[in-house]
C-alpha cells in the first residue's frame, strides 16, 4: 500500500514537471510558425525539446543585424569546436580560402532533383519562432525576392518554388527539416541556412548528397575552409574580418600595444588567432588576451585587466550584450583606449546597450549601410524600393539586407547555369563568378579553388551624436 502511494506521488511530481516543460515548449513554438510540416512531437520528446530550448537559447538572445547576426550563433557550436579550431589554424596560415588539389565531382545520384522544365525548388531553414525568431526576416525577404524574380518571368523559363522551414534555431531540428526538404520536397539547393551550429550539423549530409548550399547565414570560416564542393560562403568570414580589423588598427589607427577581449568559444578564438597573427606580422605587442564566457555579467575585472595591461588599442571579438557591458565597465574606470569591434557588434542597439560609451569605437561591415538615410548608392536604393514593394512588412535593416544579398547570389548562379540545370552545372556556374558587383554585396568571387565569396569590409566609426555608425573608409579587400 505504501509502495503504491509513493508511486503515485512520483507520478504527480513527474507530471507537474513535464507539464511545465511542455507548456514552455508550446510557448517557445508559438507565433506565426511557417513550419507546418514539422512532425508532431509526442509529449515526452516535446519536454526534452523544451529543455533544449532553454540550454541552446543562450546565444540566440544576441540579436545583431544582418551578417553579424549569424555570427552570434557560433556560441552554440561547442561540439564543432575541434574541427573548427583545426580549420582556423589552416586558414590563419594560408590566408583565407584556397585549398590545394583538384575539386572532387559531385555525387550525381538524383542531381536534377527539384528541377523540372517549369520549376526549381529551393530550400532554406532558420528560426521563425522561439527565442531567435528575429532572424526569421532573412528567409521571408528571400521569399519576397524570389517572388519578384518569378513575377519578372523567372529564370530561364523556370519559376522558383521556395520552401523554408522553421528549425527553432536548434541544430537537432535542423537535421530533421533539411533531410525532409531534400528527400520529400526534392529541394535542388539551399540558400542562407542559418546558424553556425546548425550549418555544421547538416554540412556532412549536404556534402555527401551533393546538395548545394549558397551563402549560409553565418560568418565562420569553416563554411569555405576547407573547401566543400557544393557549399559557397558569401559573407566575409570572421578570420578575414579580424585580419582586416587588426591591420586597420595597426596601419590607420596607430595601435602599438594591443589588447584583445574575446568570447571564449570558436567564434572568439577565430578572431583572437587572426589578431595575434597580424600583430606578430606587424611587430605590434599583444599586451593582454582577456576572455569572457557567454553567460558572464560582471565585467569589472575584465575591464580592470585591460586597463592595467596598458594597451592603447583594444579589439573586441564579442557579441552585442557583453560588448555593451564591457564598454560601460571600461568607461566606469576612466579607461579610454582606441576601440575596435567585431562586425557582430555593429548594431544600432549597441548605442543604448553601452549607454553611449561606444562613441568613437570602430567597427566594420561587409554589406553597405542600408540604414543610412544619406546613402544614395543605387544598389541600396534598389534594395529599399524592393522592400517597400515586395516585403513592406519587413524592417529594411541589416537582416533584410543580408537575405536580399544572399538571394541575389542564388539567382545569379541559377542564371549562369543556363537551361540545362543540374547540381553539377550549378556549382560550375557559381565558380565562374569573378569580382561580381551587381548585387548588394560589394564584390563576389568564386572559383574551383575558392568558395569564399566576399573578402572585404569597410570601416565605420560610432557616433553617439548621430546614434549610428558613420562610414569612414572604402571597401578594403583581403590579401593574404
Amino acid at each position: 500500500m505504501m509502495l503504491r502511494l509513493t508511486k503515485l506521488s512520483t507520478l504527480k511530481r513527474c507530471s507537474v514537471f513535464l507539464l511545465c516543460l511542455f507548456l514552455a515548449t508550446l510557448l517557445a513554438a508559438c507565433g506565426d510558425n511557417t513550419a507546418t510540416t514539422v512532425p508532431a512531437a509526442t509529449t515526452v520528446p516535446a519536454a526534452t525539446t523544451a529543455a533544449a530550448v532553454a540550454t541552446t537559447a543562450a546565444p540566440a538572445t544576441t540579436v545583431a543585424p544582418a551578417a553579424t547576426a549569424a555570427a552570434a550563433t557560433t556560441a552554440a557550436a561547442p561540439a564543432a569546436a575541434t574541427t573548427l579550431a583545426a580549420a582556423t589554424t589552416t586558414a590563419a596560415s594560408t590566408g583565407a580560402t584556397t585549398v590545394a588539389g583538384a575539386a572532387p565531382t559531385l555525387n550525381t545520384t538524383g542531381n536534377t532533383n527539384g528541377v523540372t522544365d517549369t520549376q526549381i525548388v529551393i530550400g532554406s531553414w532558420g528560426p521563425q519562432s522561439g527565442p531567435a525568431a528575429a532572424y526569421g526576416t532573412i528567409d521571408r525577404v528571400i521569399d519576397a525576392y524570389f517572388k519578384k524574380v518569378n513575377s519578372e518571368g523567372g529564370i530561364n523559363g523556370r519559376q522558383i518554388k521556395f520552401v523554408f522551414q522553421d528549425d527553432g534555431y536548434q541544430a537537432s531540428m535542423t537535421q530533421t527539416v533539411v533531410k525532409k526538404m531534400v528527400e520529400q520536397d526534392k529541394v535542388f539547393a539551399f540558400v542562407a541556412g542559418l546558424g553556425t551550429a546548425n550549418n555544421l550539423a547538416v554540412m556532412d549530409y549536404l556534402v555527401q548528397n551533393g546538395v548545394p548550399h549558397v551563402a549560409p547565414a553565418t560568418g565562420t570560416s569553416f563554411i569555405a575552409n576547407p573547401l566543400k564542393r557544393p557549399i559557397f560562403a558569401l559573407q566575409t568570414n570572421y578570420l578575414v574580418e579580424a585580419t582586416l580589423v587588426s591591420r586597420y588598427a595597426a596601419d590607420s589607427l596607430g595601435a602599438k600595444k594591443i589588447a584583445v577581449f574575446y568570447q571564449d568559444d570558436p567564434f572568439g578564438k577565430e578572431g583572437l588567432d587572426a589578431i595575434v597573427g597580424v600583430a606578430k606580422a606587424k611587430g605590434k605587442e599583444i599586451v593582454a588576451q582577456v576572455s569572457y564566457q557567454a553567460t558572464d555579467k560582471d565585467f569589472s575585472s575584465h575591464a580592470l585587466k585591460l586597463q592595467q595591461s596598458g594597451a592603447d588599442t583594444v579589439i573586441f571579438w564579442s557579441v552585442p550584450g557583453p560588448t555593451g557591458a564591457i564598454l560601460q565597465a571600461i568607461s566606469d574606470i576612466n579607461y579610454k583606449p582606441t576601440i575596435l569591434l567585431s562586425a557582430i557588434a555593429n548594431d544600432p542597439s549597441l548605442f543604448k546597450l553601452s549607454a553611449n560609451t561606444i562613441d568613437g569605437a570602430w567597427t566594420s561591415s561587409w554589406l553597405p549601410d542600408v540604414t543610412d538615410p544619406t546613402n544614395t548608392d543605387p544598389k541600396v536604393v534598389a534594395f529599399r524600393d524592393f522592400i517597400a514593394k515586395f516585403a513592406p512588412k519587413e524592417t529594411p535593416g541589416g537582416f533584410a539586407a543580408s537575405g536580399y544579398a544572399e538571394a541575389q547570389i542564388m539567382v545569379e548562379g541559377l542564371k549562369r547555369a543556363g537551361k540545362d540545370l543540374t547540381r553539377e552545372s550549378f556549382v560550375k556556374a557559381l565558380e565562374t563568378m569573378d569580382n561580381w558587383k551587381e548585387g548588394l554585396a560589394f564584390s563576389v568571387s568564386f572559383s574551383p579553388t575558392n568558395h569564399q565569396g566576399q573578402n572585404s569590409v569597410y570601416f565605420m566609426q560610432a557616433s553617439a551624436k548621430d546614434n549610428r555608425f558613420i562610414k569612414k573608409s572604402d571597401f578594403i579587400e583581403f590579401k593574404p
Binding site: V16, V63, D264, A288, D298, S301, K305, G321, D332, K352
Partner: protein
C-alpha cells in the same frame, strides 16, 4: 583546497606576488578596486540569495528559479516604464529612454513589486501547496519547471532580443574617484546604490523578523511548522508571504541591476547561480549569512577573475558551492540544519 589557496593569496599577498594572468606586480589599488567591484555585483547576488533563503527557511524548498523569476520581474518593471511613458514596450526595438527619473523609476518598481507579491503567493498556492505532500525533490523540480516556463513566456511575449534597460537618473552620474591616477580607485554611484539598497533591505528584513508578529510567526514556522499550526498560524498563507517577500527582493535586484545586466531572457542565469552559491555559503538558513555570502562571492569572483584568469571566474561559484557543501555544510553563519518534525 584550491579555494583556500585562492583565499590565502588574495588576502595576504606577499609583495613579490606576480599575477599569472596579468604578469604585473601586485598592487593594492587594483586589489581594492577588485574588492569594490565585487561588492557592487555582490550586493545583487545577496538580494537574490536572501530571497532563496527566505523560501528555504519557510518551506524547505530550494527555489532554483530565483534567477528566472527575477528576470521576469525585471521585464515587468521595464514594461511598467513603457506604460508610464506611453511607449509600446512589446516591440523588439522599443524606444525607451536611456535614463529615467524618479517618477518613472519608482512607478516601475511599484508595479514590479505588486506583480512579485501576487506571483509569489500564486506560486505557493497553485504550485507548491498541491505538492505539499510530495517529496521536497518534486517541489524543487516544480520550481525548475516554473523557471523554464517563465523563460519561454518572456521569449514569447517580449521576444528574445537583447534590450537596454533604462538607468535611474539619480545614480547615473560620474563615478567617484579616490586618489590620483594611475593609483586611484573608482567607485560608481550605481555600485554605491547597489550596496546601500542591499544593506537597507536586509536591515528592514531584520526589523520585520525581529519585531513584528508576522515576522516572528515566519520564524516560528521555519522552526516547527506543526506547532505553528497549533498556534493558529495559517502555514499556507505565511508560506505565500515568504514567497512574496522573496520575489519582491528579486524584483528590486532586477530593477537595480537591469542597466548592467541588460534585458534578455538569460540576464539572470549567471546571477542566479552566484546567488545560489551565496545562499549556500551563508548556510541556506541565515539571512545575514546570505548577505555576507553574496558580497563574498562577488569579491572572490572579481579577485579570481583578475588574478587567476576569467576562464575560472565563471566556474568559481560552482567550486564554492561544492566546497561549502563538503567542508562546512552549515555555511558561514548557518546553524546546524535541523530536520523539521
Amino acid at each position: 583546497m584550491t579555494a583556500l589557496a585562492i583565499w590565502a593569496t588574495t588576502t595576504q599577498p606577499p609583495l613579490s606576488v606576480v599575477s599569472q594572468a596579468t604578469g604585473q606586480p601586485f598592487s593594492w589599488t587594483i586589489f581594492l578596486q577588485s574588492v569594490i567591484n565585487g561588492i557592487s555585483f555582490g550586493s545583487i547576488y545577496a538580494l537574490l540569495a536572501m530571497g532563496i533563503v527566505l523560501i528555504y527557511k519557510s518551506s524547505d524548498v530550494v527555489n532554483f528559479a530565483q534567477g528566472q523569476m527575477a528576470m521576469f520581474l525585471t521585464y515587468i518593471a521595464y514594461s511598467g516604464m513603457g506604460l508610464i511613458l506611453g511607449i509600446n514596450f512589446l516591440q523588439p526595438h522599443a524606444d525607451l529612454p536611456a535614463r529615467v527619473g524618479w517618477g518613472v523609476f519608482l512607478g516601475a518598481i511599484a508595479l514590479s513589486l505588486v506583480v512579485a507579491a501576487l506571483m509569489g503567493m500564486a506560486i505557493e498556492k497553485f504550485m507548491l501547496r498541491p505538492l505539499a505532500r510530495s517529496s521536497v525533490l518534486s517541489q524543487v523540480l516544480a520550481t525548475i519547471g516554473a523557471g523554464t516556463l517563465l523563460y519561454g513566456l518572456v521569449s514569447w511575449i517580449w521576444k528574445a532580443e537583447i534590450r537596454p534597460f533604462p538607468r535611474f537618473e539619480a545614480v547615473a552620474g560620474r563615478p567617484v574617484q579616490l586618489g590620483t591616477p594611475p593609483d586611484s580607485i573608482i567607485i560608481t554611484l550605481e555600485a554605491i546604490n547597489f550596496l546601500v539598497v542591499g544593506l537597507i533591505l536586509s536591515f528592514l528584513l531584520y526589523l520585520f523578523f525581529r519585531f513584528t508578529m508576522v515576522g516572528t510567526a515566519l520564524r516560528a514556522m521555519a522552526q516547527n511548522a506543526f506547532a505553528a499550526r497549533l498556534m493558529g498560524i495559517n502555514v499556507g498563507r505565511l508560506n505565500g508571504l515568504a514567497w512574496a517577500l522573496s520575489l519582491m527582493l528579486s524584483a528590486i535586484a532586477g530593477v537595480l541591476a537591469g542597466p548592467r545586466l541588460q534585458l534578455e531572457p538569460n540576464m539572470m542565469t549567471d546571477v542566479g547561480v552566484k546567488a545560489f552559491a551565496a545562499a549556500v555559503l551563508g548556510g541556506m538558513t541565515s539571512l545575514p549569512g546570505a548577505l555576507l555570502g553574496g558580497l563574498v562571492i562577488g569579491i572572490i569572483d572579481n579577485l579570481a577573475g583578475y588574478y587567476l584568469g576569467n576562464g575560472l571566474q565563471a566556474s568559481i561559484a560552482f567550486l564554492i558551492i561544492i566546497l561549502v557543501l563538503v567542508i562546512r555544510p552549515n555555511g558561514l553563519l548557518g546553524k546546524t540544519i535541523r530536520k523539521k518534525v
